[in-house]
């Protein structure tokens, strides 16, 4: 369901920086439906990729075959990302906080972590440069603390400073797609707030799974439209038949 909801966020023709897993599913679903001209860029260097199978790694050889361009990673980061050519960047994370800051580095302290996570990869720079960022993450109080243990990828306010004050080119995480609700950033404060619920989910349920007193947008859309039969068919039968990333 998160993949289907994320897919709807993509507009046809957009240049999208894709990660492995749900973002990849979402992008390929969008391509199969309303956005056939979506241009997928993988940080490994494939531009305009048309993977014929679900890539397990961003270095999968299926990203190369039949893509529009394959370049080195220095070009990906300098000529595409820092150049401002990426319209949408997808990020996930072990922790997402009140201001959309993401932690994929450590749970606990940096020097003596309780859990060592993989680290930034390209996430820090994607969060800074992509014209807008979409976060995909399952909702839980552990995953949505008021303040992340480590800011790997900046959101809307970092130690009291706004993106603009820090000189960040992109708009940052405008939406967080979870399995219970959609959160969006308040244009003024940058704080995440609940803007739409999934069918059958209550606001209390959402609030219980967020580590701070999350605000709710006044004109809350009551329910997210559930995946259509076509969306489900594509996801389950075509894009991820082996259920590598889909849970349901």
């Amino acid at each position: 369901m998160m993949a289907a909801v994320a897919a709807r966020e993509l507009r046809d023709g957009e240049v999208t920086f894709v990660g492995i897993g749900l973002p990849n599913l979402a992008c390929n679903l969008a391509r199969a439906l309303h956005a056939p001209n979506l241009i997928l860029i993988y940080e490994s260097g494939a531009v305009g990729a048309l993977p014929e199978r679900l890539p397990v790694s961003i270095g999968d050889p299926s990203l190369v075959t039949g893509s529009l361009m394959v370049c080195g990673m220095a070009d990906v980061f300098q000529l595409f990302l820092q150049n401002g050519r990426i319209e949408v960047g997808f990020l996930g994370g072990a922790q997402v906080d009140r201001y959309g800051n993401i932690n994929t580095t450590v749970v606990g302290s940096y020097d003596k972590p309780a859990v060592r996570l993989p680290g930034s990869g390209g996430a820090a720079e994607i969060a800074i440069h992509a014209q807008r960022v979409l976060i995909i993450s399952r909702l839980s109080a552990r995953a949505f603390p008021e303040k992340v243990d480590f800011i790997t990828s900046p959101g809307h306010r970092m130690k009291g400073k706004s993106r603009q004050e820090l000189g960040m080119p992109g708009a940052g995480p405008v939406k967080v797609i979870t399995d219970k609700a959609i959160l969006e950033s308040d244009p003024d404060s940058g704080e995440l707030m609940v803007t739409a619920l999934y069918p059958g989910v209550t606001l209390e349920d959402v609030k219980a799974n967020v580590g701070w007193a999350i605000k709710v947008r006044r004109e809350l859309r009551p329910v997210v439209t559930p995946p259509s039969p076509e969306e489900l068919r594509l996801l389950r039968e075509v894009l991820d038949p082996d259920r590598l990333f889909l849970k349901g």
């Binding site: 940080e43 050889p61 080195g72 000189g167 960040m168």
Partner: protein
Amino acid sequence: IARLTPDLIYDQMIAAGCARKLVFSWAGNPGAGSLHAFRRAVEKGTPKLEIEEYSHFGMVSRLSAGAARLPFWTMRNYMGTDLPVANPLIRTVTCPYTGEVLATVPALNPDVTVVHAQRADAQGNTQIWGLLGVQKEAAFASKRVIVVVEELVDESVIRSDPNRTLIPGMIVEAVVVEPWGAHPSYAQGFYDRDNEFYVAWENISRDPARLEAYLQEFVYGVKDRAEYLKRQPGLQERLVAGQQVSAGVNYGY
């Protein structure tokens, strides 16, 4: 040892105690789980492992600086992140035109870079197609370069398509001809990624005893790559690449 994405080969080196320090930007087993030997080292200190951490762009930039023999590289990056706090080598420089403050990383000049490629000639002129990563930058940044290839070809093959040459022989110390040398990873046009093994690694690497047994059987216990492959029957049939050959282009004038 340094790599943007240390993978399960690095996990093996950490487990085997071959790594003193890891310089990296993403340490995981993509699509499969964690590098548990790496995690044990960082979380529990066994074995002891120093780390120095950047983002991908930072690591790419470190190698770009090294390859250009400059002491640093400039990026618009890291504002608002905790990476410069965790790593004091991430610094800033002021633009002499605009006054803007930009992020810098120091050059990385490895002692040795090992590059895997599809083909090279005996002089080390190396051609790679498919993903290029930071192979060119890492090779030029390095004091010495070792190229591992699927195929040794005549110089005339290299000269027939000079735009595909990524690494010139003049910077290459040694060429190792080792078909299937990238397994469990892949070589575009030769064989596919062994996803089954990446998934299996999650459980092997989670258990130090199983990891040690794996090292005994497939690393310490084999005399060469041929024996490594012989112990995995069916592997080559399962992973050999299909044919999707590009057309040539005219270099005439």
